[in-house]
């Protein structure tokens, strides 16, 4: 190896999961390498480096290193974040603790809000005020700030979050405050709400700023450490970080916007969906519904018009956040969902047996029947399957567990197993319906992309429930998030609050403002010395009918003559799709201007070793299909041949998942190694 010429241009992506850290690399010739290492929760960097080493590539060859980091999210979920002080406008110390006063768990008399990340004693009031129109009522008094820092702040905190009233409109007081603070406390993070989330509604903005400050030092330390270690390994290229919005930025930018890294890991699957959508576009009607089903939860996201669906607000573990993030809807349904009787009826989930004790068939002490047990009894998981690496499944234990519940409601175990799976499928389908109806989307026009340990098993049944006719089980399903990240575009979002009436907006002002946002975004992208590339710029406006509060984000195609009329029409149309009615005579108000700047990533050209021999089953197993036991061929995914369709029932094995194809459906191997499963027209 030593004397071989190093061929530059290898791209590497790393995704940290709960159990494994996945690595994917693509060489300039299109060859794809994958590796897995155990996740090292105490020091995530170790697992990352182990996975990279397992790829067996020359470090100097790596020219792009993309990372989905869970450092921030873990710190938030495990409450190991920074020690944060919050500064508020005088009179508003309790905005953060009061929140919105609501009780989402409305029939629970003992409902309690999640514990705040900043306790009341660490919240300080500043005597300043901006009015609702942005005018300055009271400026910052520097003597007050100095006194505060001497008495309370100095030495006590890792980060300071600042959220002052109406700063989304006029940030001068927040900026002045920061100026004084960084003179006095140069070493600590000062996070301004006007930087993090310049949008109105003080509680949500405060919460976003606090979360940002809470994770900032952790993300900073993690990324610095990772960069150092990679350098020592000989990987000198800039580290890129996956953001919640589905795009990547340099680690340097990520440090400034740590809150944007929170969903860095989970969005990888949807990013892969974007890549898959491109490669199968020809056969798609509208877009993709991506479902990730694991042991305890079921995540749904969508790819529409070639892009991941983004939402401008998110809630993470009870913390409200204002930032653009890939919309991921989580439902309590998974392989570990427990089936039990209640008042003579049968329930499946949301309670899960989790990984411990897990389904009865795991032989880890669980004796309640789960969805996985039911699938095993029905022969939809091959007895050859080894879950989580080497776990052998115990069919007898599954049968015993199902029988116990069956006796309570007088159902034989096969019928009950089929029922358990049906209820789980229907719950998942309902969740998808609620999500799509809410957005005015008809799922029938979408294809379903399924991944995660249990996704490929249920995908076709879900498609049947939703009247979807195409199911995709993507290539590299075992390392899907990392594979998706390899193909993510560089992306920075910028927004500014701007109120006015559509039709009366001054073109010159809008042009200048969007130009400013765009320049700012480009500068940010360039912080990591990006190679010379073409920027793509997307403008959009958050619009609403006058008097309403929620907005729809509508793309602005251009700012040519008549753009306001054009935008108006598109808003009405979008409103019609989303809500089933619109008001073409009503005044439309603009609330925010948004600019997204992206640098498209180079597309991956796969160089797959193709199987020339016909797809042959490795074995036949009995599976329950259409009310009878049927001999079902079992295939290894690696052995499948293109253009060699397989009709259901059939099972496809791969290391971490089984794809089940019932009768009436047909599998076709796509030329980029995705499994395409379509309904056979009768």
């Amino acid at each position: 190896m030593k004397n071989r010429k190093i061929e530059k241009g290898v791209r590497v992506a790393i995704d940290i999961g709960g159990t494994f850290t996945d690595a994917v690399a693509i060489k300039p010739d299109g060859e794809i390498l994958t590796a897995k290492a155990s996740t090292t929760p105490k020091n995530l960097t170790e697992g990352v480096l182990n996975a990279v080493r397992d790829l067996e590539i020359e470090p100097q060859a790596v020219t792009s290193f993309i990372h989905g980091t869970t450092a921030g999210l873990n710190a938030l979920l495990e409450r190991r974040g920074a020690n944060v002080a919050l500064l508020t406008t005088k009179g508003f110390r309790d905005i953060y603790e009061i929140g919105r006063s609501n009780r989402p768990d409305m029939y629970n008399a003992r409902y309690k809000r999640p514990l705040p990340l900043v306790q009341r004693r660490n919240i300080y009031e500043i005597d300043e005020r901006i009015a609702a129109d942005g005018s300055l009522i009271r400026p910052i008094n520097s003597a007050e700030i100095r006194a505060l820092y001497q008495q309370s702040l100095e030495g006590n905190y890792d980060a300071i979050a600042v959220c002052l009233l109406h700063s989304y409109r006029n940030s001068s007081n927040e900026k002045a405050l920061k100026e004084i603070l960084i003179q006095e406390l140069p070493d600590i993070h000062v996070i301004l709400s006007s930087d993090v989330a310049p949008e109105w509604r003080e509680y949500e903005r405060t919460s976003t700023t606090v979360v940002s400050a809470y994770v900032a030092p952790i993300v900073e330390e993690y990324l610095s450490n990772l960069e150092d270690r990679l350098k020592k390994e000989g990987i000198n290229c800039p580290v890129l970080v996956m953001q919640s919005n589905g795009g990547v930025v340099s680690a340097q930018v990520a440090r400034h916007l740590p809150v944007q890294t929170l969903l860095s890991g989970p969005v990888g699957g949807t990013t892969a969906g974007v890549a898959v959508e491109k490669s199968v576009k020809k056969i798609l009607e509208e877009g993709l519904i991506c479902v990730d089903m694991g042991g305890t939860s079921f995540d749904v996201s969508m790819v529409v018009d070639g892009a991941a669906q983004i939402e401008l607000e998110a809630s993470l573990d009870g913390h409200d956040l204002l930032f653009p993030a890939v919309a991921i809807h989580t439902v309590g349904a998974g392989g570990g969902s427990v089936a039990e009787t209640s008042s003579g009826g049968l329930r499946v989930g949301p309670r899960s047996a989790g990984a411990m004790p897990g389904p009865a068939c795991y032989s880890r002490g669980g004796n309640e029947p789960t969805v996985t047990d039911a699938n095993l009894i029905l022969g939809r998981i091959s007895t050859e399957a080894r879950l989580s690496g080497d776990l052998q499944l115990d069919l007898m234990k599954a049968k015993d567990a199902v029988d116990r519940v069956g006796q309570e409601i007088e159902l034989e175990k096969t019928a009950l197993s089929e029922g358990i799976v049906r209820i789980a499928d229907s719950n998942m389908a309902n969740a998808i319906r609620e999500l799509t109806v809410f957005r005015g989307i008809d799922p029938r026009n979408y294809a379903l992309m399924a991944f995660g340990g249990a996704g490929p098993l249920h995908a076709v049944a879900l498609a049947e429930e939703l009247e979807i006719s195409t199911v995709i089980v993507p290539a590299y399903a075992g390392v899907l998030s990392a594979w998706g990240m390899l193909q993510a575009d560089y992306r920075v979002d910028r927004s500014i609050s701007h109120s006015g009436i559509l039709g009366d907006l001054q073109d010159e002002f809008i042009i200048q403002t969007t130009q400013m946002l765009s320049t700012d975004a480009q500068t940010t992208l360039n912080l990591g010395q990006m190679p010379d590339t073409q920027y793509e710029e997307h403008k959009a406006a958050d619009l609403r009918y006058l008097g309403q509060e929620y907005t729809l984000t509508v793309p602005i195609e251009n700012l040519n003559n008549g753009w306001q009329n054009e935008l108006r029409k598109r808003f009405d149309d979008a409103y019609m799709i989303r809500f089933g009615h619109c008001n073409r005579d009503e005044t439309v108000e603009i609330v925010n201007l948004r600019v997204t700047v992206t640098i498209p990533n180079q597309p991956i050209s796969h160089n797959r070793i193709k199987n020339e021999s016909a797809s042959n089953p490795i074995s036949y197993e009995k599976s329950w299909s259409g009310n009878e036991w049927v001999d079902t061929p079992v295939y290894q995914r690696d052995n499948l041949k293109e253009d060699d369709p397989i009709s259901g029932p059939a099972m496809i094995l791969e290391p971490d998942a089984t794809t089940y194809i019932p009768s009436g459906w047909q599998l076709q191997m796509h030329n980029e190694a995705h499994l395409l499963i379509t309904r056979i027209d009768s």
């Binding site: 508003f92 609501n102 003992r110 009826g345 309403q548 509060e549």
Partner: protein
């Protein structure tokens, strides 16, 4: 296979569960559509709404509430429309509405909108929603808090057809909008409610096509049985006995007499009986409600204790028996005004939990001041010169319970997911400046576990306006339980250049620019003797500034 398969019209347990979940999901889809497409903030931001679906016998199969106090109030609306029009005269695409307090319960602003759902020319069910309309032509903008007869509270509609076969009935729509100070909002919110009905129709049709009427009927019967069985088992687990709790509201309105509420709870085997005998007669003011609202309130109280997570269906509450004195504040009749339909319901829920603490001390919580603590400003906006109405309900301190301090500054029992008004939105929209919005230290009742804190919010009116307030329960504040102390009652102070006065309840009082109004809401009751509170908890309260 199983004996169930012998009869094709009987749903097996699997199908029952699939259908049960589908009903809940359809209601959830309707609610999402309503909340997102509504015109006024009170619906989409404050969730002052509720949706439900019914089978063709008007039996509730699925519901989704924004406000828990609307639990199950849409059934009577559906029944009233069927009684009035008859199903024979209904057509696909019809929409009906009504708001009569004596039929559907709450105040006239809450308008129930519903549609029959057809499949192949046959009615298979009904979709319904209820939402708060901002102005329905009451004697003062938005609502009249000093009304003495229902005729002053806006238009009162019995069953009314607003869409016929998909087409708006023009003269009715014209009537609704012409008699409102906010016609656009009326039309916008009606359309949102219609959209919710349409979502329900579409999804119910799919479900019935898939399973057929007989299977769904069979499944519904089973679903109702399951709800009933669960609730019977829960009551049977409680000790038998009769317990009474009594309290009073300060007044039925500015200058009015106190209103007595008496709640007697009896448990006998698997049945519960709640009697409100002894409560005040209907009041001469607008603090009253129709019987249906009372029933919904008692059900909510029941739900707080009995199987809170179980979905509500027509099989729920079969073992809950309610007796209400006729022409009382809980069963008002014409011409009683009903604008403030909630204060006595809130007190009743508090007293219910108090009475039940004898049977199940660990399942209940201590008292709260149980009212929405409303404050409203109206006037002409100085820049647009148009009418503005800023109304909001504010949070209160909740009662403590075994194992936990009460929650602070949270909406009352009836409020659920109702959200507060962001300061930045309120200041942007209205000529108001908020000077403080904070927790109210020391307001929670002392106890082994401390009551939650109320809040303080101070407003300055920036131009001449009118003020209406409705603050309650200074005489029966959030009660302590099992030795815990009561929470502090609420307070409202108005201060201008010349003087300062209390305004717990006032209606349409002129306030000139520069006037400051400070509201303080009540704290929750404590639980267990204060002497038993741990030193750490006491020190923590001082450190955080919850007590000073």
């Amino acid at each position: 296979m199983t004996k169930n398969k012998e009869n094709l019209d009987i749903a097996d347990p699997i199908t029952v569960e699939v259908i049960r979940n589908s009903f809940s999901s359809i209601a959830a889809q309707m609610n999402q559509n309503l909340a997102r497409s509504a015109y006024t903030p009170i619906i989409y931001e404050m969730k002052d709404c509720s949706v439900a679906i019914f089978d063709r016998h008007a039996q509730l199969v699925g519901q989704s509430s924004g406000l828990p106090v609307f639990l199950g109030t849409l059934g009577p609306a559906v029944e009233a429309v069927i009684d009035y029009f008859g199903t024979a005269d209904m057509q696909p695409g019809d929409i009906y509405l009504l708001n009569d307090s004596y039929i559907v319960g709450s105040h006239l602003n809450d308008v129930s909108v519903l549609s029959p759902i057809f499949l192949e020319k046959q009615i298979i069910g009904f979709g319904a929603s209820k939402a708060h309309w901002m102005d329905i032509g009451a004697k003062s903008p938005s609502s009249a808090t000093d009304s003495t007869e229902i005729y002053q509270e806006g238009y009162r509609l019995g069953p009314t057809r607003v869409f016929r076969a998909g087409e708006p009935v023009k003269n009715i729509i014209d009537f609704l909008t012409r008699n409102s100070r906010l016609p656009k909002a009326i039309w916008g919110d009606l359309q949102a409610q219609v959209a919710a009905c349409r979502t329900g129709e579409k999804e119910m049709q799919k479900l019935y096509k898939r399973f057929g009427m007989n299977i769904i009927d069979s499944a519904s019967t089973k679903i109702f049985e399951q709800s009933e069985e669960a609730e019977r088992a829960a009551i049977a687990a409680l000790p038998d006995g009769t317990w009474t709790a009594k309290g009073n509201l300060d007044s039925w309105g500015p200058g009015g007499d106190p209103v007595i509420v008496e709640t007697k709870v009896t448990i006998a085997g698997e049945e519960m009986h709640v009697s409100l005998e002894g409560s005040s007669p209907q009041t001469p003011g607008c603090l009253n409600c129709g019987l249906q609202q009372t029933i919904a309130g008692v059900r909510l109280a029941f739900k707080f204790v009995i199987d809170p997570q179980l979905p509500v269906t027509a099989g729920s509450f079969k073992n809950l028996h309610i007796s209400v004195p006729e022409r009382s504040v809980f069963d008002a009749r014409e011409p009683a005004a009903c604008q403030h339909y909630y204060p006595h319901i809130g007190l009743m829920i508090d007293l219910f939990l108090n009475a039940l603490s004898n049977a199940a001390p660990d399942s209940v919580i201590a008292g709260q001041c149980g009212d929405a603590m409303n404050i409203m400003f109206t006037g002409k906006h100085p820049t647009s010169n148009e009418l503005f109405v800023s109304g909001e309900a504010t949070g209160v301190g909740w009662g403590a319970f075994r194992g936990g301090d009460g929650s602070s500054a949270m909406v009352t029992y009836g409020g659920g997911d109702l959200k507060n008004f962001p300061v930045e939105v309120q200041e942007y929209r209205f000529p108001l400046r908020i000077h403080e919005y904070r927790l109210r230290p020391n307001s929670g009742g002392k106890g082994r576990w401390r009551g939650g804190l109320g809040l303080i919010r101070t407003y300055e009116v920036l131009s001449n306006a009118r003020l209406s307030t409705w603050f309650e329960r200074t005489q029966t504040p959030g009660r302590g339980l099992l030795g815990g102390k009561n929470g502090e009652p609420g307070d409202v102070t108005v201060t201008n250049k010349e003087n300062s006065w209390k305004a717990l309840k006032c209606a349409d009082v002129p306030v000139e620019a520069g006037t400051m109004i400070t509201i303080a809401t009540g704290g929750g009751g404590g639980f267990g003797p204060a002497e038993e509170r741990t030193t750490e908890a006491i020190e923590e309260d001082i450190l955080q500034g919850y007590t000073v």
